[in-house]
Subunit: 156 residues, 4 copies
C-alpha cells in the first residue's frame, strides 16, 4: 500500500502535474478509474466493479484491468520525468492471476528502473472491500515506458 | 485479412458458439467492439474510434486497444476448443507501435499453437478508413490462453 | 536476499528434490550457474562472469542472464509442487535494465501465485562483488510455469 | 524461410556490418550458433543440438533457445540501423511451444516495426533435420530493441 523505495523526483510539482494529466484521460473517466495516491515513482488508482465492464462470466474484463494498470504504470514513471515531458507506453505484459470480482479494484504502479529515455515499471492489481484489511492479488504487470520530449514520442 | 493456416475445429458449430459467447461480454458492447469474422483459429473484431475512450493526446487509450485485441486472441483460441469448454487468458504481452487514431480499428487474433490445455495466439491491431485499402499496424500481441473445462478455470 | 512471503510446501523434501533436479541440467553446469539457496516458493542461483559468454561489448549475453533467471523462476515454482511433478516454462518476459558486467551475478525467483496447474513467478537478477553489500539490479522477469504430471507436460 | 516484407536498409553495407558484429559475440560461438542469412530487417541463425546445453529431460534448455532467438531479433533490427549505431535489447517475451529436440534449430527474426529509437521484432524458432522439408515451431518471441548512438545505450 506504499512505495518500497524512496525516489527523488526531477520536478517538485510532480504530484499536481500527474493528477492534471490523469484528469485529461477521458478513457479513465469512462471506466470509472480515479487517482488515489501519488508518490515519486509510485501511483495508486482505484475503481469500483461495474456490470457493464464485465466479460461473459460476470468478472471485470481483463482488458479493463489492464487499461487501469497500464495507466498506473505510466503515471508512476511520469512522476519522475522532467516538467514538459510526455509519457508513452512502448509495451507491457500482464499476468491475470484471479478473476476480478470487486467490489473494488486497486492498481499500483512502481518504477523498477527510471532511465533517461526508458523506464521499467511494475504494476499490481488487487480486489478489496472498503473497510476490510484483506485484499487479493488479481494481476501483475511489467510495463516499458518511454519519456517523450518535443514531438518525438508520437513517432517513437 | 485472412488466416494464414487452415486449422480444423473440434466443434463444427464453432462459429455460432463463438459469436454467442462474444455477445455475452458486456464490456465489448460498452466499448463498441463488434465481431466481424470467425474462422477456425482466427477471429476479426472491429470498433470505431470514440472520443470518450481516448488518452490525454486524443488517441484511443492503449488499454482499450488491448482489451479488444485480448478478446480477438481469446476467441481465436475458443474456436478450436471442444463444445462446453471455457476460455481464460493467462497472460498477454502487447507492443504499441503507433498511436491509434482511427477512424476505425481492426483486431485479428490467430492461433500459433493450439494445445489441449494451453494455446498461444498472435494478435494484430490496425487502423483503417472504410473504403480504403490502406491500413496501419498499431499494435501486436501474444496471448497465452487456457482451455477451461468444468470449474477448473476459475481457480487455474 | 530472502523471500517476502512464507509459503507452505506440499512436499517436505522440497529442498533436496529441487537441488537434485537442478543438478540434472547440463546447461546450468555448462554456463557455470550454481544453486545457492532454496526456500518454499523461492530459489537463488549465482554465477561468475565469464568472457566466453559475452556479447559484442564484453557484457554477459542477455540470453545467458535469461537462461539462469528462467531456471531460478522454474525452480521457485518447483519447490511448491507435489513430489513427482515436473516443471515446464510456458513463457516468460524479461526486461534488461543494465548491462551485466559481473564480477558475479545473482538470480532470485519468487512465486507470486502458485496454482494447481499454472504458477506465476517473478525473477530478479543482480550483479555484485563478493564481500560487498552493494548490488545492482540488471534484469527482471515474469515467468508462467506449468505443473506437469505424468507425460502431459511434453505435449502441453 | 524468407522475409515477408521488403524493407530498405539505411546502410548499403548492412550485411557485412551485421555479420561482423555477430562474429564479435563470444556467447554465440560458445553456444554453437551460426549466422546463415541476412536480409534487410530479417536474419536467420542456426545451431545443432548439443547434449551439454540441455535441461533435465534432455531437451535444449529454453534459455539457450531464447539466447539465440534474442540474437536473431536484435540483428534483424541491426540490419536497418545506420552505420555506427549499436543495438540493445530492452526486453523480450518468449513463448515455448514445444520441447526443442533438434537435431538442428533455426532462429528467424523479422522486424515488425522499425522506429528511429525503438524497433519491434518478431522471432520464431524451429527444429528441423537437414535434408527434410519439415520443420516444427518450438518458440515465438517478440523483442523490443533500441538503437544506440554514441554512448547512450549503455545507460538507456
Amino acid at each position: 500500500m506504499a512505495p518500497t523505495m524512496k525516489l527523488l523526483p526531477d520536478d517538485p510539482a510532480f504530484e499536481r502535474r500527474t493528477r492534471e494529466s490523469f484528469a485529461c484521460q477521458p478513457a479513465m473517466a469512462t471506466l470509472g478509474v480515479r487517482i488515489e495516491q501519488v508518490q515519486p515513482g509510485w501511483v495508486a488508482l482505484e475503481m469500483p466493479h461495474r456490470d457493464d465492464l464485465t466479460q461473459q462470466h460476470g468478472f471485470l474484463h481483463a482488458g479493463v484491468v489492464a487499461a487501469a494498470l497500464d495507466s498506473a504504470c505510466g503515471y508512476a514513471a511520469f512522476t519522475l520525468m522532467p516538467a514538459g515531458a510526455g509519457v508513452l507506453t512502448i509495451e507491457y505484459k500482464i499476468n491475470l492471476l484471479a478473476p476480478a470480482r470487486g467490489p473494488w479494484l486497486r492498481f499500483e504502479g512502481e518504477v523498477a528502473k527510471a532511465g533517461r529515455t526508458i523506464s521499467v515499471v511494475d504494476g499490481r492489481a488487487w480486489q478489496f472491500a472498503p473497510g476490510s484489511d484483506e485484499r487479493k492479488l488479481v494481476a501483475t504487470m511489467t510495463a516499458t515506458i518511454m519519456t517523450v520530449t518535443g514531438r518525438d514520442g508520437i513517432r517513437h
